[in-house]
């Protein structure tokens, strides 16, 4: 393997890992505020990608502009989803039933996408789609760089929001100790709704980034949900930094394994990491102690 190929692989792995990290952060948010594994996260991701593609096809404008619509829209949808559906489930069976409910939502979204846009594979062709930059002999597509920049910016913004604002403080308090947060006057129900909104907003951004350089089709979300769930378990359910680190490591791992093993087998790295984590350290490698109990 030549040095430039290795470098290229590494860079691609980091770029992919950035997107994984953003999406895994979204999943972690849902889990944090409600102890819910949101299976429909990747379905919303694909939905956002379709919206970006549709926006581009109808208006001819840059698909990035669709973010202006999809991000607020997804935030509201996420809020309503939590307040209207998830919070109605019985607390005793919340974990299992919420998985089924979000699974049902994923199926519905997949079905509707197929219904409206057919199962045909779609791809956005932009003026800069084919261009790439050369770094030390490694060719990196511009769209991948844009996608990564988008994901990284969103992740940094999310982190700043959580760390620096009063809302973020309330959200973190809700995640760590809901009873205590309530005692301190935090409206945890509303905060949980906002947490869902934020999580879904990451799917909107991720979907747009995905649409830039990938071929999309309705059932694509199954290829995303597996790796994403593996990432949040390896990272330790409920820990955003843990999810980000696991995402980067596994993204790079997947990229590196693609060279000797091919794309399909390389995907198994996520599942191997998942099973290894559960056998060795069920609470995850970077995260909190929530995981073991859920």
């Amino acid at each position: 393997m030549s040095a430039s190929l290795l470098l290229q692989t590494l860079v691609l792995g980091v770029l992919l890992g950035g997107l994984y990290a953003l999406l895994a952060a979204g999943l972690t948010l849902y889990f944090g505020v409600m102890r819910v594994v949101m299976i429909a996260h990747s379905a919303f991701l694909i939905l956002a990608a379709y919206l970006a593609w549709f926006f581009h096809r109808e208006t001819g404008l840059d698909p990035l502009l669709s973010l202006v619509v999809t991000v607020p829209l997804f935030f509201v949808v996420g809020y309503l989803l939590q307040r209207g559906l998830i919070s109605r489930l019985r607390p005793a069976t919340l974990t299992m039933m919420s998985v089924l409910l979000t699974f049902a939502i994923a199926l519905t979204i997949e079905g509707l996408l197929g219904f409206f846009f057919t199962g045909t594979q779609r791809r956005i062709n932009l003026g800069y789609s084919g261009s790439s930059v050369e770094v030390f002999g490694a060719h990196i597509a511009v769209v991948k760089l844009i996608a990564f920049a988008l994901a990284a910016a969103a992740l940094v913004a999310l982190f700043a929001l959580l760390k620096l604002t009063r809302f973020g403080q309330a959200l973190r308090a809700t995640i760590q100790h809901p009873e205590a947060a309530r005692l301190l006057g935090v409206n945890t129900d509303r905060i949980a709704g906002f947490g869902f909104g934020l999580g879904l907003a990451t799917a909107a951004i991720g979907g747009t980034a995905l649409a830039l350089d990938s071929t999309i089709y309705p059932s694509l979300h199954w290829h995303w949900i597996g790796p994403l769930m593996a990432i949040i378990v390896v990272g330790g359910l409920g820990s955003i930094p843990g999810a980000a680190i696991a995402a980067l490591l596994l993204g790079v791992g997947q990229s590196l394994l693609q060279i000797p093993m091919g794309t399909t087998w390389a995907q198994t790295v996520f599942y191997i990491a998942l099973f290894a984590t559960l056998l060795v350290r069920p609470q995850g490698f970077f995260g909190g102690r929530l995981a073991q109990r859920f």
């Binding site: 409910l101 509707l112 199954w222 559960l278």
Partner: protein
Amino acid sequence: MPSASDTTTGAAPAGAAPGGATERRSRFDTTLLGGKIALLVVVGALVLVFPQMAADPFILSVGVVIASYAALAVSWNFVGGFTGYISLGHAAYSGLGGYATALFITRADLNPWVALIGGGLLVAVLAVPIGIASLRVRGASFVIVSIALVLILLLVAQSWASLTGGAQGLRVPRPFGEDVLRPEQHERFFYIHVAFVVVALALWWAIDRSRFGMGLKAIREDEDKAQALGVPTGGYKLTVFVISAFFTAVAGGLYALWFGYLDPIFQFSILIGSYMVLMSLLGGLRSLMGPVLGAVVVGYSLEFFKVHYGDSQFHLVALGLLLALVVLFMPDGILPAVGALVDRLRPEKRTSIREMTAEDLLEHNRRLDGGTGTPEGTATPAGSGPGATDAERDLATVPPREEQR
């Protein structure tokens, strides 16, 4: 509320009334039992004559498909119903069972029925490490693992083309030879599936009434608590998980023998796993016949959709909406709902216990304490309305979200 009038009218009628009530109740129960047996006989007879009644081979094949769904749902319900661990990835075991059966026949030249059982046993062995890894974690993580398992097996089955045929699919030789005609094949497989379902139900029933089953149900209700009472939760969960994997694999193998062709996309499909969940949930996870009822309803609807709407994506939407509705509005399923309805017709209402606790318990505790007459006891204070009781009950049933440090 009969008990209230009993206490006001004095001791003698109070003594007599419960006797009468018991008699009435037992008569009601006898009628109920008779009704159940009659229903069972009628349904059983209908099932047995179905192949003769079926108008054409297509209807018969739909019958086989529904019986196959019932076999999968009942197998799934060993884990789901007893322990409350919802596996969305049981297609992994049915798919593995199908491929194992097919490969045992084609590669090892085994008799099809030996291959079927061998496939089931192989999957049961594989389920041991999988169970150990995935049952260590609860709730959400377990579901994640179950989904991941299907996705990983799909990858493997597609990539390992030299063994599985990959996307080309795999032909499974027919066990009854080529000279047996299609309708005859369907008929035989229908009966085989029905026999499989009966065996699985019998085992489910036996576990349900055993000490093992009591431990499993305790795990479903509160795993920590069960373990604190001495239930070896790990071993119990693993045992029932392996049983479930074995039956699911055999059901998958039966399907492979009947259908004669395996494709990774359809074998290792999240959808198949979610059908099993939906069927069991709709019929009633905690009841013996729930998954069978669910399989009939969902299986029939799926076939109906296929006939009328073809291959459109609409069946996904229908499945998604139906699952969401069941989860939101009927998480206990049809059969428990019917059971509650029947209970309401009961002449002596069991549910009235809740309302009569205040006075009766006071009386009861007085007797226990040797007539000291102190209002000591467990009763909810007579003054507090049903609202307060509800709040207390909620407090008790909601488990703490996180163990306090």
